[in-house]
């Protein structure tokens, strides 16, 4: 491939990732038909493959071409008199003055917010929400998403088709609801799940789309749409801390625990960025679980050595988190913090109060660590073996194998 061709291909990928969501949001609103808008944007992205040179304003180009493709589709459908009651109305509108500036217009924000809220509508199941968000808002292709989640492409394609059909047939609207905060919470959960999938499967990321980067990109976009939502900023900070520590989390495909990570390999500029985002979240003075998790991450990220960590402060943050969103997983994390602040026996005592995590590998891995420290190698080995049987991530499996062998 020539240098020009490589450059054109990169420009098309950038266009898909960074602009296709905006253009789709605008066209979905204009056409009143998500599916038509999506098909038109896909048509236009395909047409970009035959660029001789990169247009001066690729986003404007995408809007114009996708808009025209959409109108072509409506004309054909109207001619066949079988699709879209709205075709006649849309075709009767005067030809739009397509400004090069249109996708940079300030109203785009509302359209984008409507689109992301639609993708994360509670009437769609969680898997469908994740797939639609990455596909329609994030501009990833179906094969890219399927590869990132290690699921068959056909399964993912079907999931997206089914979700789009439900949106159309059940009348799920592109609108900004009265209960905006509740709906934004659903979006945050979806973005967090995307991030988490990337965070845990990072070790096997050879050539795959990086879901951590995608989650950060989408969360930043949401933060610019909702600059006064403290939890959006809290999630963004949490994701940024995770990414800043990424380089030190694995060594030759094996998981390195926080205590043992080489902190000089953490990205200090990334941590600074996360600190600034967290500070702006906390300045809004609306507490929330993502901000607390980010605050805990900040305690780790800003401690120069593992020994410098302020464990009592982390214990109290987990206690607050338990009050906001009680869950056995949070108690598990709190038990780890308690073991560091007050000793392994105290941590184990808290661990003993947890029920419902028998199938969670980290529960058994934590138990194994604490039992090792309290000098009970037999019980520790049993716990590590249970963890090993439940773990699915190859790096975690290797780590557990090593722990068992060391006992």
């Amino acid at each position: 491939m020539t240098a020009d061709a490589v450059e054109r291909r990169q420009a098309i990928t950038r266009l898909a990732r960074e602009e296709s969501g905006h253009v789709l949001a605008l066209l979905a609103h204009r056409f009143g038909d998500l599916d038509l808008a999506d098909e038109s944007v896909q048509d236009a992205l395909l047409a970009a493959a035959s660029w001789d040179e990169i247009p001066a304003n690729p986003a404007g180009w995408l809007y114009t071409v996708a808009h025209n493709r959409g109108i072509d589709r409506l004309r054909r459908a109207a001619a066949e008199r079988r699709r879209h009651q709205s075709a006649a109305y849309l075709l009767s509108l005067p030809d739009e003055e397509v400004s090069e500036m249109i996708v940079e217009h300030s109203d785009v924000g509302d359209e984008q917010l409507r689109l992301v809220l639609l993708c994360c509508h509670p009437a769609l199941d969680r898997d469908a929400q994740i797939a639609l968000t990455l596909r329609l808002v994030g501009g990833l292709s179906t094969p890219e998403i399927a590869a990132a989640f290690l699921i068959p492409e056909a399964t993912l394609a079907q999931r997206i088709v089914r979700a789009k059909r439900k949106i159309r047939d059940a009348g799920i609207p592109l609108s900004i609801p009265h209960s905006l905060d509740e709906r934004v919470d659903a979006v945050l959960t979806v973005l967090y799940l995307i991030y988490n999938e990337g965070y845990l499967s990072r070790s096997s990321a050879g050539g795959r789309v990086d879901l951590v980067d995608e989650a950060i990109r989408l969360t930043s976009a949401l933060a610019s749409l909702l600059p006064n939502n403290a939890e959006v900023l809290g999630l963004l900070a949490l994701e940024l801390y995770g990414r800043a520590r990424a380089a030190a989390r694995f060594a030759s495909d094996e998981l390195i625990l926080l205590d043992d990570q080489d902190r000089t390999r953490w990205d200090s500029a990334g941590i600074e960025h996360a600190n600034r985002v967290l500070a702006s979240a906390l300045a809004l003075e609306v507490a929330g679980p993502f901000q607390l998790q980010a605050w805990i991450a900040s305690q780790h990220a800003n401690a120069r050595t593992a020994a410098n960590t302020d464990w009592p402060a982390i214990v109290s943050a987990y206690a607050q988190l338990s009050l906001l969103t009680p869950s056995p997983v949070i108690t598990l994390n709190r038990a780890v913090a308690v073991s560091m602040a007050d000793g392994s026996h105290a941590g184990l005592a808290l661990l003993d109060t947890i029920t419902g995590l028998d199938d969670y590998h980290l529960y058994w891995a934590t138990r194994g660590e604490l039992l090792t420290r309290t000098g009970d190698p037999d019980a520790a080995a049993d716990a590590f073996r249970r963890a090993r049987a439940l773990a699915t991530n190859p790096a975690e499996q290797k780590h557990l194998d090593r722990r068992i062998a060391a006992l």
Partner: protein, 118 residues
């Protein structure tokens, strides 16, 4: 759009008897709800059904009918009634469905695909 709201009630639950002192308040809640649907232009039709114990099901296999005593699915929740409403989109239908004066119920919200007009 038109939506059908299927009201699923726990079959084991006793319905409030008209002689119960709480009955008046219970009915007032539903009357107010019905009025809200009518005033908002959402009402098409609706009914409360007798308990599923009164149901009879015809099962047809290869054009041969068998009559069965009971509803077509034995589940913990049974169809207790329905509303057929007009709403501008799913969000409005869901908001109307959640305004029902139930303490415990499942309400299935389904878009109507086709309904012959008289």
């Amino acid at each position: 759009m038109e939506y059908m709201l299927f009201l699923g009630e726990a079959e084991a639950r006793e319905r409030i008897a008209p002689t119960d002192p709480a009955f008046g308040e219970y009915m007032a809640g539903w009357m107010a709800y019905n009025q809200k649907l009518i005033d908002g232009g959402h009402w098409i039709s609706g009914a409360q059904l007798q308990p599923a114990g009164t149901a009879t099901t015809i099962k047809r296999v290869d054009s041969v009918d068998t009559i069965i005593d009971g509803p077509f699915a034995e589940t913990k929740e049974q169809l207790g009634g329905y509303y057929l409403i007009e709403a501008k989109d799913l969000d409005e239908a869901l908001a109307l469905a959640s305004a029902m004066p139930f303490t415990d119920a499942s309400i299935e919200v389904r878009p109507v695909a086709y309904r012959p007009q008289p």
